[in-house]
């Protein structure tokens, strides 16, 4: 049934129903908007009208939130909204010709809606399917392994307005591609094992993590479990797996010790906003090991005395929602969630899933919390930090998916066991998401300390020119650095491991990353908002053959400014891909240096492109020769 022409009454009914399900709670605006869009195809002024009345919040708030997230549409975008993943790995697998093919088939321009209002086709940031790309999202559901045949079939399905539910299931199949499993991906724990171990863990001699007041607020008397479990986490030397590597035990302890004002409580938040291009390990953990992740969250809740938890799942993983809700439901039935977990009086904890809506910056923990509260995903001013002033200004632990999974293992097997794996400052294992130029892309779990060369050999990479470790915000290393090791001592990583062989143009790699940062900058602070656009323009200038050594100096200057003045890590790292590739792959840039001195970015001939398109002319007379343009 066509829903785009629903009249206001029907829209109001949908808004009422959705808002009701979320208890008319304005902190759930992001979830409410998502469900309204899923039902209505877009968020119309009529829907916003109704929503502001139902929630009792100003329209500016709703429009401000809706306007922030890439996946929310306040203008019609068609009944089929197709977004091609545009990570560099999708580029290498040929996503752009496929997008052109689809646009040609459907008679629609990229970025626009077809004239019949049926379909729109556009690009989006990495969707986390780098090991099985090129990939796209259709109405936020992932379609993988695109090729010309599949594109033509999709065009037919769209033209014939076949509902998504009737599309071949094979399109939506997402493979785990686990290539090397270690303690996490190869674990044999059963649901509840870690919780029982935490409950039964007796305080050890000279307990370090004791804080009787704090855990008694959350849990009844007479339990050694929480403090003893926290001790094990600390002893394990577990560090956050989201990239920054903060010590998990210290974070949990700080949250546990944070004073509560009347009416306040503690929260556990799992950061599954896996937005760093080239990273897809959390997708697999949540597909195949969701119990372990939820168990880790529950262990954290037990340890710090939290009653509520959230899984913040990136919008690109919308297809996992039903699967995850089923597991939560089963865990409630098993008494592993809900009131009196495992029969412990007062051990209450439950988990809600919140979906993101296309905003990389929400992977930053304070931006994530803002988003959880139903706001624009702008990183907060810190201090204070989430451990004392997090969700709704209350003490909150935010950890990565992989961190919680590791915590569950530690609860069972103990901190000493875990600390013995890996290296001195990087305990345990790390799951790498390997993609790009290799025979066997997928997940590789290694004890920390593995050399890049080893990973390249295992994944079947040949003639490798460079590896981007930890995504665009990480580091790009060349062949002379392949003996470097994964770990906080040398190459810290959130997990991305993108391989580039010697046929790749590293300038284009960097340019793709720069476009990514420009698109994902939240726009809050001046240096990042304007600086990422200036950097993008500079890289495009080089791409268009107008580069000169002057531009290197400009890039360096922008980097200084973004590093020192930006509000959060996005701005701090936005120049990294360019600086790394200039330092290590300078010929890729020099090939583009046709000038020794400054050349303006403005190009007379290119400025006529719009006029050529409008007039349908492309003959010699419709062009201005380059020499002429430059002499003029």
């Amino acid at each position: 049934m066509a829903l785009t022409d629903l009249h206001a009454e029907a829209v109001a009914g949908i808004v009422d129903r959705v808002a009701q399900r979320y208890r008319r709670d304005p902190t759930c605006i992001v979830q409410i908007l998502r469900e309204i869009q899923e039902a209505c195809d877009w968020i119309s002024p009529a829907a916003i009208d109704r929503l502001q009345a139902v929630l009792g919040v100003p329209r500016t708030k709703i429009e401000g939130v809706a306007g922030f997230y890439s996946f929310f549409y306040t203008r019609p975008r068609g009944r089929y909204r197709i977004l091609f993943s545009d990570n560099i790995t999708d580029r290498m697998a040929g996503n752009l010709p496929l997008m052109e093919r689809l646009c040609g088939n459907l008679w629609v321009e990229p970025g626009k809606v077809s004239e019949d209002g049926l379909v729109s086709v556009d690009k989006t940031s990495c969707t986390g399917m780098c090991d099985q790309g090129p990939a796209l999202l259709v109405n936020n559901l992932a379609v993988t392994r695109l090729d010309a045949g599949r594109i033509d079939e999709i065009a037919d399905l769209v033209r014939n307005a076949v509902p998504l539910g009737e599309w071949p299931a094979a399109y939506f199949a997402v493979a785990d591609n686990v290539r090397r499993a270690d303690i996490l991906l190869g674990h044999t724990l059963q649901p509840g094992d870690a919780l029982r171990a935490a409950r039964d863990r007796a305080p050890s001699e000279g307990i370090a993590a004791s804080n009787m007041r704090s855990w008694r607020e959350g849990l009844p008397h007479g339990l050694g479990g929480p403090a003893a479990t926290l001790d094990e986490i600390k002893r394990a030397n577990l560090r956050g797996r989201g990239g920054a590597g903060f010590t998990t035990g210290l974070k949990w302890e700080a949250c546990r010790n944070a004073p509560l004002k009347p009416g306040q409580q503690r929260f556990v938040v799992c950061n599954a906003d896996e937005g760093e291009p080239g990273t897809f390990k959390d997708r697999v953990l949540l597909t195949a090991h969701a119990d372990l992740v939820f168990e880790g969250m529950t262990v954290a809740a037990y340890t710090i005395g939290a009653r509520r938890g959230f899984l913040y799942l990136r919008g690109e993983y919308r297809y996992l929602l039903d699967h995850l809700e089923c597991i939560l439901k089963r865990r409630r039935e098993q008494k592993l969630l809900g009131p009196d977990i495992l029969g412990i009086p007062g051990a209450d904890f439950d988990i809600e899933i919140h979906l993101g809506a296309g905003a990389y910056v929400c992977g930053e923990e304070s931006a994530l919390i803002e988003s959880l509260e139903g706001k624009r995903g702008t990183p907060r001013n810190r201090p204070p930090f989430p451990v004392t002033n997090g969700y709704l200004d209350q003490p909150t632990v935010v950890n990565n998916v992989e961190t919680f999974a590791a915590a569950a293992l530690i609860a069972v097997k103990g901190g000493d066991w875990y600390a013995a794996i890996g290296t001195r400052h990087s305990a345990g294992t790390k799951i790498l998401s390997v993609s790009g130029d290799c025979e066997r892309p997928g997940l590789y779990e290694y004890p920390f300390g593995v050399a890049v060369r080893q990973v390249l050999a295992d994944c079947g990479a040949g003639r490798t020119q460079a590896v981007q470790v930890s995504g665009p915000s990480g580091v790009c290393i060349g062949a002379d650095e392949f003996d470097r090791r994964i770990g906080f001592e040398d190459l810290p990583t959130a997990g991305a491991f993108m391989v580039f062989d010697d046929s790749r143009d590293m300038f284009e790699v960097a340019r793709n990353f720069v476009h990514f940062f420009q698109h994902e900058s939240c726009g809050f602070c001046t240096p990042c908002r304007v600086g990422t656009s200036l950097l993008k323009n500079l890289m495009d200038k080089l791409h268009n053959g107008h580069g000169s050594p002057y531009d290197f100096a400009e890039i360096e200057k922008l980097n200084q400014l973004l590093q020192s003045m930006s509000h959060c890590g996005l701005g701090h790292t936005a120049c990294n891909p360019v600086l790394d590739t200039i330092a290590k792959f300078r010929p890729a840039y020099e090939r583009r240096m046709e000038h020794n001195d400054f050349t303006p970015a403005f190009d007379l001939d290119r400025a006529l492109a719009a006029a050529r398109q409008m007039t349908g002319r492309d003959d010699a007379g419709a062009h201005i020769p380059a020499e002429f343009g430059e002499d003029a």
Binding site: P58, R59, R376, C522, V530, S564
Partner: protein, 234 residues
């Protein structure tokens, strides 16, 4: 005994809870700023007020003062970065000072003079931002918006109205008004609202009062912004 921190070698007294910029302005020391306003909750977005605290850069409008802090502000390095930020704001929007009613009263312009900005340096973005002239008494010229959110905070926190908000993301971030039509005329804004008075640039203007004060006799024509603000602070 009064607590102090050191700002460019000078001891600055502060009270508990005061931010660096609050204490500095109270002591008559100017730190450039655009999104900061003494009457509103700090925002920390323009980053003009960035200083070095014990060697680390941070916005002075959100950082609480602490005893013994070593703060650097008026250094060539930091001022060069502030100048670049100001240039960024100039090229991001459409700022044509000679034809702007706010010229001489504009904090962006005055701050650019203060920092010795001689050119915009970067390529202009020339964004397309239509003007909203729907309201009988007020004009909104979005071309000059620097996204400081002062009108947002004033309307929400003082006027209790939420007339303004920021929408969009990244370079597409923009100011919106609280009306289904998107027009100021359809909001409940009133001339007496605080939100009408706080714009540091020339976005929110009263109609039919233009050029009442001749150019040359305006706020920052008489004294540079550093002196004007420092005098207000003390």
């Amino acid at each position: 005994m009064t607590q102090t921190f050191t700002l460019d070698g000078k001891a600055i007294p502060f009270a508990d809870g005061q931010t660096i910029i609050q204490a500095a302005l109270a002591a008559g020391v100017f730190i450039p700023h655009l999104c900061y306003h003494p009457e509103f909750k700090p925002h920390g977005s323009c980053k003009l007020c960035t200083v070095k605290v014990n060697g680390r850069q941070t916005a002075s409008c959100t950082m609480r003062a602490a005893a013994g802090m070593q703060v650097e502000s008026n250094t060539e390095e930091i001022n060069a970065e502030r100048r670049a930020l100001t240039q960024m704001l100039f090229v991001e929007g459409n700022h044509f000072c000679p034809s702007c009613e706010k010229s001489g009263d504009c904090q962006l312009q005055a701050t650019a003079y203060h920092l010795g900005m001689m050119s915009p340096h970067f390529d202009h973005f020339f964004p397309n931002r239509p003007v909203d002239a729907s309201h009988p008494e007020l004009l909104l010229d979005f071309n000059r918006c620097i996204l400081c959110s002062l009108c947002v905070r004033a309307s929400r926190d003082v006027d209790g109205k939420n007339v303004f908000a920021l929408s969009g993301r990244g370079i597409k971030t923009h100011l919106i008004v609280n009306a289904k039509s998107g027009r100021l005329a359809d909001t409940d804004i009133a001339l007496g609202d605080k939100a009408v008075q706080v714009c540091p640039v020339g976005v929110i203007l009263r109609k039919r009062t233009g050029f009442a004060v001749p150019i040359g006799e305006r706020t920052y024509d008489k004294a540079p912004i550093a002196e004007t603000v420092a005098q207000e602070g003390t």
